[in-house]
């Protein structure tokens, strides 16, 4: 079984770990995630690819307590396991929305340190394990 990224234009599985791909405006310095060819801040069109930081702090979060509709959801619904979702602030870069590996509200606190991980979502027709990205409490992995 091979691990593959859910979309390698957004998220890559490097030898040294998972990484999110973004873009940076060479005019005003604003970052985007995922990458795009125009700047949402200054409307410029001179964007360059960047790799985003893997560490950050939890900015806000919620619980996905009910099964999402499928499609579009491709994760397990039998059984559905509630998961958390949050925005993680990558210092000096951007806040990224992602699944969180910790689903217990009692163990999630705004401001806690988080790190990027690859999170198995489903298996494709060729038997590959499709990995999406998530953030885990720092030091847990």
């Amino acid at each position: 079984m091979t691990d593959i990224s859910i979309d390698d234009r957004v998220f890559v599985l490097d030898a040294d770990g998972p990484c999110l791909l973004g873009s940076r405006c060479t005019d005003c310095g604003a970052l985007t995630f995922p990458p795009q060819d125009g700047c949402a801040r200054c409307t410029g069109t001179a964007m360059e690819p960047v790799r985003l930081a893997r560490q950050g702090a939890l900015w806000t979060w919620t619980l996905q307590g009910f099964p999402p509709k499928a499609p579009p959801f491709a994760g397990s619904l039998d059984p559905f396991v509630p998961f958390a979702v949050g925005y993680v602030e990558l210092p000096g870069e951007i806040r990224v929305e992602a699944r969180l590996t910790e689903p217990d509200p009692a163990r999630l606190t705004i401001g806690m340190p988080m790190e990027l991980v690859a999170d198995p979502l489903t298996t494709d027709n060729e038997g590959n394990r499709v990995m999406t990205f998530a953030f885990a409490p720092a030091g847990q992995q």
């Binding site: 859910i6 979309d7 234009r9 957004v10 998220f11 973004g22 604003a30 970052l31 985007t32 995630f33 995922p34 949402a40 801040r41 900015w59 806000t60 979060w61 919620t62 619980l63 996905q64 307590g65 009910f66 999402p68 509709k69 499609p71 579009p72 959801f73 491709a74 994760g75 998961f83 958390a84 979702v85 949050g86 925005y87 602030e89 000096g92 870069e93 951007i94 806040r95 990224v96 929305e97 992602a98 699944r99 509200p105 705004i110 979502l121 489903t122 999406t132 990205f133």
Partner: protein, 381 residues
């Protein structure tokens, strides 16, 4: 804006109506609005209508009569109704027409909205990963807001309980059973800190308004209500919006703030002049946050206002007097016009047992929707 009057309003009850299509509900609302104005479909020189999932609004002409009028379809997420009204009002202000109709209807499948990531300009990965749920945004926004303003989750239950109490007094509402704060807090945790009964549900319904040039209002009614402003705006860089894979660290106010400010400027009145307000309450936290974003109060002031009963029908700033989205559900195309319908009833003194006392003279509506748009109207007697 002083030149547009609302001279007729009509609704089809919100909720679930088995066997009646969204468009057929639109026909009912239109005929009720025409009857209220003492007008006929043939009198309508133009119409602007919107529906997200119940068909192209202009197809309704085959049911109402093929009179040759100009019919413009609008779709703008939860601001569809507000956009229909703003577009219709602008047509009259531009001098293109004297009399026309703004219409919204919808009929959604049960459960949280199924987001089409491609239509929303998002990658497929966003939906497959389980991030394409508008409910998550509402949970995350209010979780951060409660944290920043040191408020307790219980205030969300207080807001929801008011909505169901008001809905119980509204024959057009879907949820007409009052619920206690404890029942609301004990319901299923859907999107922390929001429980099931703190959320509205996608539903069905229709609302329609007959509009005309203000100086013609007396032809239709002796109690016209005047549209002082109708503004729709999209988000700016740095605001925190629904269906956003990322947010800038540099933060900016959401579109509600700018839309409200412009609407007050155009109307020439301020938040302190508003006697009754309908604000987007997709969930209880939305009412909490929008109260401040609209300028109706300051951030952090809500706890005191709500504790004092200010937002109740008999309070100093009655909010969501018809039960809001929480008690009415959300048929996207119709929701914004449902708010205007309620305000017209309140300004005319026709709201029955939920009438705001003291002859309200100025009323405010606000919608917010994906992917970060807001629509505001201000009405006066």
């Amino acid at each position: 804006m002083t030149g547009v009057a609302i001279v007729g309003v009509g609704m089809h009850a919100f909720g679930r109506t088995e066997g009646v299509s969204g468009m057929e509900q639109g026909v009912v609302a239109t005929r009720r609005a025409l009857a209220d104005a003492g007008a006929t479909w043939s009198d309508m020189q133009f119409a602007v209508g919107g529906s997200m999932e119940a068909g192209n609004a202009d197809s309704i002409v085959s049911k109402l009569g093929l009179t040759g009028l100009q019919f413009t379809n609008v779709v703008n997420g939860c601001a569809t109704g507000g956009t229909a009204l703003a577009t219709a009002a602008n047509a009259i202000l531009a001098g293109a027409y004297d009399v026309g109709l703004a219409l919204g209807f919808d009929k959604h499948e049960p459960g949280a909205f199924r987001v089409d990531t491609k239509s929303a300009g998002l990658g497929e990965w966003y939906g497959t990963s389980g991030l394409a749920l508008t409910t998550q945004f509402f949970g995350m926004k209010v979780n951060r807001y409660l944290h920043d303003h040191d408020m307790d989750q219980r205030i969300l239950a207080t807001i929801a309980a008011k909505a169901f109490r008001n809905g119980a007094q509204n024959p057009m509402a879907w949820r007409r059973k009052p619920l206690s704060e404890d029942e609301i807090l004990a319901s299923a945790m859907l999107s922390y800190p929001l429980t099931q009964y703190m959320f509205c549900s996608p539903g069905e319904g229709a609302a329609a308004l007959v509009l005309c040039r203000a100086e013609l209002a007396h032809r239709f009614t002796d109690r016209p209500v005047f549209l002082r402003s109708a503004v729709v705006r999209s988000r700016r860089y740095g605001s925190f919006e629904v269906l956003a894979p990322s947010l800038a660290i540099e933060s900016a106010p959401g579109p509600t703030v700018e839309t409200s400010r412009l609407a007050f400027e155009q109307a020439g009145i301020g938040p302190e002049d508003i006697d009754v307000a309908q604000v987007q309450d997709t969930e209880a936290g939305a009412e909490l946050m929008h109260l401040a974003e609209t300028g109706l109060c300051a951030h952090g002031e809500q706890e005191r206002l709500i504790a004092e009963g200010a937002t109740e029908i008999g309070g100093s700033l009655p909010v969501n007097t018809d039960g809001g989205c929480l008690a009415n559900g959300e048929p996207i195309g119709a929701s914004g016009l449902r708010q205007v319908y309620e305000n017209v009833l309140q300004l005319r003194g026709d709201a029955g047992i939920r009438q705001v006392p003291g002859s309200p003279r100025a009323a405010f509506t606000h919608v917010y929707g994906a992917p970060g748009i807001s629509g505001v109207t201000i009405l006066t007697t």
